[in-house]
Subunit: 380 residues, 2 copies
């Protein structure tokens, strides 16, 4: 199978090992760790054309391209990243990284703890968005990137882009904060907690040390993913796609799969529970819950955003109820009040929170236009 | 403890046994069954002042009053039903009934199946809203009530009120359909299915026959209830009540309870799993999923509503996202198009779906005024 001309083509994951101890927000420390990452495109002579893509809850470093010609699926943002695509790899050097604590190659709960020779499991520390951004900065050092042309992320990835602008104001020119929020609401936390409780109370979780038992808390992960999916789709979108359609055309009066929406959710849950690490899921949801840059400023988001020097693109989708446009308004208003340069786009879409991964034409056009301007700034 | 003057005071549950076989929508049949019910107030001479209260997913027949002077909690709608309250027991004879399949005294999955001497468990048939309304009509016969002055219900209870108007057009003067919908959306079904899957995949569920194992699928029920609670409250209401408040004032960087909203949800889940029957929960959610009077009219709700002769009050709450005002609009528009008499109220409330159980003043006033008029019609 030949790659399409706008594909980055075949790619390879790389690893970077770090031996400098990392002090975490939790007070814990990791003495050494590995980050798994991929790059697409070429770093230009003055290293000014680099873009970091931050992933969301279940994402990873494999952003674009395929590992093998026969791979059915490409990277998770392949529709946005490639030669001639909005994040244009002919102009930008694009970096995707699996966050620390992940389950796609970076050190995480399922990795072997050198101290014990066993998987970290319950001993792996809880991560925060600032912790991740710190590790991403170390990776940038390693790659010779002093300043990102842009840091881009949707959802939890958007929180990382925002955090970059606060933690390293001089190392980021543009922050693209998409379908995100400056902090979770009580309802957001509530959904995360139900998902966590599903995993934590699964008898196969074994307090996080299920690896030694040769099982995975599949039931819990499956429920967590099913629930997550409901919050990723819009009510209308789900209605348009599935409505009340029945698999067999009539009621079964039992508890087997019956409505098409049930079939879809269970399939998504099953698939996810086959490959995703339960401890990573827990840790990612906690990072979401904890993110709150205003907290260290008595809840004053404007004060929290003062250090930022980046320019911002904040984008929200009309049918996103997980991080509704109102949540992006909070970010935008605080950025404006803090005197920052910010563009805001509210994009009409029926795709709910998932819209940040889809190709609604106004979204594609927005990204293309914005990043064209970024490219011009760095002569990319 | 003396009852307040506007309380129905001490009450007793009653039971009615039925030996006439009941043919169910599923094709199954129950040869005999018991309904548990309560009544408040006095039936007038011409039996014209009776009101039926239909309960929602986790409700029952204990609508008002207390069983013992020391009972901490009164019936679930005690704030609405009593002498001088909007559903005024000085004027109306009010009937509450535990739906068939319930777990509060009516025959249900946890009842002993006379055929086996064991709890029905997985052999208890799936119920539908039309099945329930049929059993309620039989109870009305037993009580000498030819025609209800009103049938009232919120949420799933509202579906029963609507169904009454279709199944027995001459036996219901007013249908009060509150915080309800003419059928579930794909998103509604999706939430129900996650709750069901939590129960069905709990190792202690034992295919519905957990009674024989001396266990209950507590983990699953708990998750189902936690999830349910999220959908009962509004995002804003949850934010106002819990926000991002932490139990201990600072992050714990672990998976124990941390945010106040987590504490609240887990408490609700724990409490619920102590007393509610898992099979009843499954069956109630299926009745919700199945309700769709338009289905037998090629999806034409207007055609489905043609038989109704009742007058309707449809009420919705602004912050209810489980059954949003748009869902009530569907009912109202179809009723109007079908030439029915309908009043619609959209009530400003921060209480989300739960608002139908709360005392927002405009809601209380609406109910009081509407039911005053009903009382006048029947000289109650």
């Amino acid at each position: 199978m030949t790659s399409a001309p706008d594909s980055v083509g075949l790619v390879e994951a790389q690893t970077a090992h770090f031996d400098t101890p990392l002090a975490l927000a939790s007070g814990s420390q990791l003495d050494r760790y590995t980050l798994c990452f991929e790059t697409y495109g070429e770093l230009n002579a003055d290293h000014s054309n680099a873009i970091l893509i931050c992933h969301a809850l279940s994402g990873h470093h494999h952003v674009a391209g395929r590992y093998h010609p026969d791979d059915k699926a490409a990277g998770w943002w392949d529709n946005m990243v490639g030669p001639g695509k909005p994040i244009d790899t002919r102009r930008f050097f694009v970096v995707g990284v699996n966050n620390l604590g992940g389950c796609h190659g970076s050190t995480g709960p399922s990795s072997i703890d050198p101290a014990s020779g066993q998987p970290f499991g319950s001993r792996f520390p809880v991560m925060t968005v600032p912790d991740w951004v710190c590790t991403q900065a170390r990776l940038a050092d390693r790659l010779g990137i002093e300043r990102w042309a842009a840091v881009i992320g949707g959802s939890l990835g958007g929180m990382q882009a925002l955090q970059w602008s606060l933690a390293y104001p001089d190392r980021i020119a543009h922050a693209l904060v998409i379908a995100s929020a400056p902090r979770l609401s009580a309802q957001n936390i509530a959904f995360n907690d139900v998902a966590r409780q599903a995993i934590l109370t699964d008898p196969d979780f074994h307090g996080g040390d299920f690896y030694a038992h040769g099982v995975v808390p599949r039931r819990g992960l499956r429920l967590a993913r099913m629930l997550g999916h409901i919050t990723y789709l819009s009510d209308d979108g789900m209605g348009a796609k599935f409505g009340r359609m029945l698999r067999s055309g009539e009621y079964q009066y039992g508890y087997d799969v019956e409505f098409e929406i049930e079939s879809y959710l269970r399939y998504q849950g099953d698939k996810f529970s086959d490959y995703f690490d339960a401890n990573t899921y827990l840790l990612m949801t906690k990072a979401l819950d904890y993110f709150d840059p205003a907290a260290s400023h008595q809840g004053d988001l404007v004060a929290a955003l003062k250090p930022a020097r980046a320019r911002f693109l904040v984008a929200a989708f009309t049918s996103d109820w997980r991080f509704s446009p109102e949540r992006s308004h909070e970010t935008v208003k605080a950025l404006v009040a803090a005197g920052k340069r910010v563009a805001y786009a509210e994009i009409e879409s029926a795709h709910g929170h998932d819209a940040f991964l889809m190709l609604d034409p106004p979204y594609v056009e927005l990204m293309r236009t914005y990043l064209n301007n970024v490219a011009r700034e760095v002569n990319a």
